[in-house]
């Protein structure tokens, strides 16, 4: 019994440490032209970019190789007219079914970081390469300065609805960090509160750090960031102060990693439109 309590307190310390890391420097986002639509069928056009000034593409276009559009009935929809520009990628999605569509870019994998004897930063697999389990032992030193092996995932997501909202696309994939709506993401209104459940590999993501930023930040001096931490059920509640397009960025970290990784990280960024009452 004593032994167990010691273990528990170590986990508790780890959890406390986990929430102190900073959000990633670059923000990836999807920006839909509309999120609530009516009519027989409709098009939504999207911008996809990586930039720190939310919804102003001024850094680099987002790749769409990992992008999947899921229809209300669960079909995968092909995007149309996809073009990669200097600062943003654009693409269209035709909504032919009534209900809620999910647009997600997801990637995950194991990556090692360390410093070699000369103090140079090393990373394996390299940028754009994928993790191959058999190569790990030869590619990554067993001991090195600042050696970290991370099981990481990154999800960039948004939702749009034609007609009556539906919930089928909210079914968890149980991979990486996910946001499962309790309040429908296409039914958000200024001054109202919305609840979401965060999952890491299908389990509640406790202590995840959440930052909520309204678009148009170029036109104000204060970023007016809302910071929230997920509770013991992995839930967060956000009250939208005013109407607008919001960027929700979530970071999670713990030590429950798949071997050979020693830490597990997850990042989520979502775009949510909040309408005036």
């Amino acid at each position: 019994m004593k032994k167990l309590s010691v273990t528990t307190s170590i986990v508790a310390i780890a959890a406390t440490l986990a929430v102190s890391f900073s959000a990633s420097a670059h923000r990836a986002w999807l920006l839909p032209s509309s999120t609530v639509l009516s009519g027989e069928d409709s098009y939504v056009t999207f911008d996809a970019a990586v930039s720190n000034t939310i919804f102003h593409p001024d850094h680099v276009a987002m790749g769409t190789n990992d992008l999947v559009v899921t229809s209300p009935s669960g079909k995968t929809i092909e995007t149309e007219n996809s073009t990669r520009g200097k600062y943003r990628t654009t693409f269209d999605v035709k909504l032919e079914e009534e209900g809620t569509f999910k647009i997600t870019s997801f990637s995950s994998g194991i990556r090692a970081f360390w410093k070699d004897e000369e103090g140079n930063r090393k990373m394996w697999p390299g940028r754009g390469k994928s993790y191959v389990a058999e190569e790990f032992a030869t590619a990554v030193p067993k001991e090195a300065t600042d050696l970290r092996v991370t099981q990481g995932s990154r999800r960039v997501e948004t939702f749009v609805t034609l007609g009556e909202p539906s919930e089928k696309v909210f079914a968890p994939t149980n991979e990486g960090l996910e946001l499962i709506p309790v309040t429908h993401p296409n039914d958000l209104f200024a001054t109202e509160a919305a609840t979401f459940t965060l999952l890491i590999d299908g389990e509640p993501a406790v202590g995840a750090e959440v930052e909520v930023v309204r678009g148009g930040m170029r036109y104000r001096n204060d970023q007016e960031t809302i910071s929230v931490t997920s509770n013991d059920e992995g839930q967060i509640e956000v009250t939208w102060p005013q109407a607008g397009m919001y960027f929700v960025e979530i970071s999670y970290k713990d030590d429950k990693a798949e071997k050979p990784a020693t830490e597990r990280t997850g990042s989520y960024s979502g775009t949510f439109e909040v309408l005036p009452l």
Binding site: V36, S38, G39, E40, S42, G163, D187, F189, P276
Partner: protein, 176 residues
């Protein structure tokens, strides 16, 4: 209506106090909606929705005026701009819907009687809010809310509200 009237008469025989409220409930109501004349470069007739919410925000639809006759139902594309109505049940309706939908209407006085009476007839006693929402292309949006209780008490009517932008005077009154 006949049944209700005879009920009112019967109640009237039972007591004067009771009679005043019951006879009001038996009477039909009329909803007047004025749409303002607007001095704008580009004017499109507004989309208008009327519905009743109970205290749990459950809606009973009364009317929706939109571009019903556009080819391939293109007029439905802007129904979501009646944002509150869209959220309070509009999005679950399969439009056009007989007895609910009509074409858009221009500036002037408009009247809803049959539709509001048949909506009220479906409701049990309690507190309600009547909402009137208007949204105009290249224009604004406005929602007016009129609280009322059922059974209707004659002395509580008419209830009149003045809109500020997209809606003129809205009045819930006993039918003439």
């Amino acid at each position: 209506m006949k049944v209700r009237n005879s009920l009112a008469i019967a109640s009237g025989a039972l007591g004067l106090m009771l009679a005043s409220s019951v006879s009001a409930a038996a009477q039909s109501v009329t909803l007047d909606i004025a749409l303002p004349q607007l001095d704008v470069a580009e004017y499109h007739k507004p989309y208008v929705a009327v519905w009743i919410e109970n205290s749990k925000r459950k809606s009973t639809q009364v009317a929706v005026w939109y571009d019903v006759d556009m080819r391939e139902h293109e007029g439905k594309e802007w129904l979501k701009d009646l944002r509150q109505w869209w959220r309070r049940g509009g999005r679950s309706l399969d439009l056009p819907y007989d007895g609910l939908t009509s074409a858009t209407k221009g500036p002037g006085e408009h009247l809803i009687d049959t539709q509001i009476n048949s909506a009220i007839a479906k409701l049990s006693d309690g507190d309600y809010t009547l909402r009137v929402e208007a949204s105009r292309e290249v224009g604004g949006r406005e929602v007016l809310s009129i609280p009322f209780s059922l059974p209707l008490a004659a002395e509580s009517l008419p209830v009149t509200l003045e809109g500020k932008s997209e809606i003129g005077r809205v009045s819930l009154r006993l039918e003439d």
